[in-house]
């Protein structure tokens, strides 16, 4: 048994910090190109806020991708539905939204967020049972089913709410900016950063400190072995899918307030961004998704400022560059 005691110590697991340094390096790299420190700071804060909102929307999708190997092209539907459901609360309570009291604003926004998450979570349950369950393991059919689901969802939103864009003004207490020197930092962007960080920390705590999280991480790596240990991974899938859908709903509400408008195709527009983030980050990696979201947002903001003509393709270029460097994304978790 001596050989098994193997006294030579294990090589320390390498902490892969390069991906985490990328957003910092990118921010520092563009500073001299932008020239003005205040413009740089404004763009950076805008990038962080946008990145956090994209992360909230993408975090569920990366787990669904990594754990369930499901290509959910309908993820954007949850984003749009979340935003529309929020209007059910926010539009009637417009008076509270426009009041100068933070409490009144919160009394409108918090129920809207909770309702949006509850509805999108429940919709996730239906979608997983009806659309995804019959096509597990069949990628082509998954694409067809979920894309079809997205189209149906979008058209249903048009049918229920009409084709017009619904304005959704920010609550009064979240309008305006904090001025620090020459730099104006929008209040809502700070809030978006805070919420994104809370979601990130909460997911990390669940994944790393709970048995449920261990099961999810293990399931991303080898679902079959998780089953062989006695756990029904399909039930785990369902829970993750519902949570991912609810997070997309939360992201939808936050994005709608950020843009101050809701429209049925907003899910379409964001699906591409969210997929780029998931692919850049590495399927199933929450850490990679977080960094990927920041990078995508930074490239969009800095790129739009420095080379506006490149703005449309900047994220695709970012994805190509990252995949040429790391073909399985920044943090490869699965072998896919």
């Amino acid at each position: 048994m001596n050989e098994l005691a193997a006294t030579d110590s294990l090589p320390k697991p390498k902490r892969d910090i390069i991906p985490a340094l990328l957003p910092v390096a990118l921010a520092l790299l563009v500073l001299p190109l932008i020239g003005s420190a205040s413009s740089w700071a404004t763009l950076t804060v805008a990038s962080l806020a946008m990145g956090m909102m994209i992360f909230i929307m993408a975090s569920g999708l990366t787990l669904v991708f990594g754990l369930m190997d499901v290509l959910n092209f309908g993820h954007g539907a949850f984003i749009a539905v979340g935003a529309y459901v929020a209007t059910l609360v926010l539009v009637p309570l417009a008076g509270w939204m426009q009041a100068d009291s933070l409490l009144s604003n919160l009394a409108a926004v918090l129920p809207a967020i909770l309702l949006a998450m509850a509805v999108t979570g429940a919709l996730g349950l239906v979608v997983e049972r009806v659309l995804i369950l019959p096509v597990y393991g069949q990628h082509l059919k998954q694409i067809l089913m979920t894309t079809g689901g997205l189209i149906v969802a979008e058209q249903t939103l048009y049918a229920l709410w009409g084709p017009q864009i619904i304005p959704l003004p920010l609550p009064a207490s979240l309008r305006g900016s904090f001025i620090i020197g020459d730099v104006a930092i929008a209040k809502y962007r700070l809030l978006a950063m805070l919420v994104g960080l809370i979601v990130f920390v909460a997911i990390q705590l669940v994944l790393n400190r709970t048995k449920l999280g261990l099961l999810i991480r293990a399931g991303v790596e080898n679902g079959e072995m998780v089953e062989a240990l006695g756990y029904h991974i399909r039930r785990l899938f369902l829970g993750v899918f519902m949570t991912g859908s609810a997070l997309a709903g939360l992201g939808g509400v936050m994005w709608a307030l950020y843009r101050e408008q809701v429209h049925a195709s907003m899910g379409d527009d964001l699906t591409v961004l969210v997929f780029i983030v998931v692919i850049i980050g590495g399927l199933g990696s929450i850490g990679g998704c977080f960094i990927g979201a920041l990078l995508v947002a930074m490239v969009a903001n800095y790129g739009g400022f420095l080379v506006p003509k490149l703005a449309l393709v900047s994220n695709i270029l970012l994805m190509v560059a990252i995949l040429m460097w790391r073909p399985r994304g920044l943090h490869a978790v699965t072998s896919r």
Binding site: P13, E227, A228
Partner: protein, 240 residues
């Protein structure tokens, strides 16, 4: 001695391939039954079918009198079957501790049980908080077996535990499995290493082309070199 596991007329199809073509055997309680055969004979498929990872297309599987051929894998595991796959399948992103915490379904791993396991596999204690992905091949195999025995199980299905391991480690692993066997475990063990099979097996099943072509006492097969050559295409000396 009663039979813990019974397979009757088991057929398994994977895609368009007919892998198991009428497998019949029993695994007596408290014994180690070796499942031998050439590559591609159907040994791993047999374990996967018992575990429910591949669905039997025909036949019956009974575990302690309970029919399980249509039972989902997690429920088979919860009936008391521990599985050590050929690939070891440790969760490399998780620590040794986390791998064992997951395997202990009934709560945190029992301290006395852990000490018992550490007695076999001291490396696991040493690397308790290290990522399993950094372990050596032998240590991963230890972890994979430890995961299967972290709680008492009725039956252990172990698939080629010595595969790819250095000879010195194989010897140690055999001693570990002997210790587990002395604890009264019922084991169905797939093995290509005939030396290991001879050391561990009470009875033996030999597979070829998806069926059982020989069953008997391990000691009898170990003593019959002509039969070994006929069934397995090897002689005992080749592995000594």
């Amino acid at each position: 001695m009663s039979d813990l596991l019974t397979l009757s007329g088991i057929h398994t199809h994977v895609g368009r391939y007919h892998i198991l073509q009428g497998v019949d055997f029993v695994v007596p309680e408290g014994q180690t039954t070796m499942l031998l055969g050439r590559n591609g004979a159907g040994k791993t498929s047999t374990l996967r079918t018992i575990m429910g990872l591949w669905q039997a297309s025909a036949g019956q599987i009974s575990l302690a009198g309970v029919r399980i051929e249509r039972t989902a894998t997690p429920d088979i595991a919860r009936l008391g079957v521990g599985y050590v796959p050929e690939t070891m399948a440790v969760f490399s992103d998780l620590t040794v501790r986390e791998n064992l915490v997951l395997a202990a379904r009934d709560g945190p791993p029992d301290d006395a049980r852990l000490d018992w396991i550490f007695g076999f596999f001291p490396a696991l204690k040493r690397f308790w908080l290290s990522r399993a992905g950094g372990l050596s091949g032998g240590q991963k195999q230890m972890l994979s077996i430890a995961r299967a025995i972290i709680e008492p199980r009725k039956l252990l299905l172990i698939d080629e535990p010595t595969k790819g391991l250095a000879p010195a480690i194989v010897g140690s692993l055999i001693e570990c499995l002997k210790e587990i066997k002395r604890g009264g475990a019922t084991i169905l063990l797939v093995e290509q290493n005939f030396h290991a099979a001879r050391e561990l097996g009470d009875s033996v099943l030999v597979m070829d082309n998806g069926t059982i072509v020989h069953r008997g006492e391990m000691a009898a097969l170990a003593a019959d070199i002509a039969l070994q050559e006929h069934l397995l295409g090897l002689s005992l000396e080749a592995h000594q």
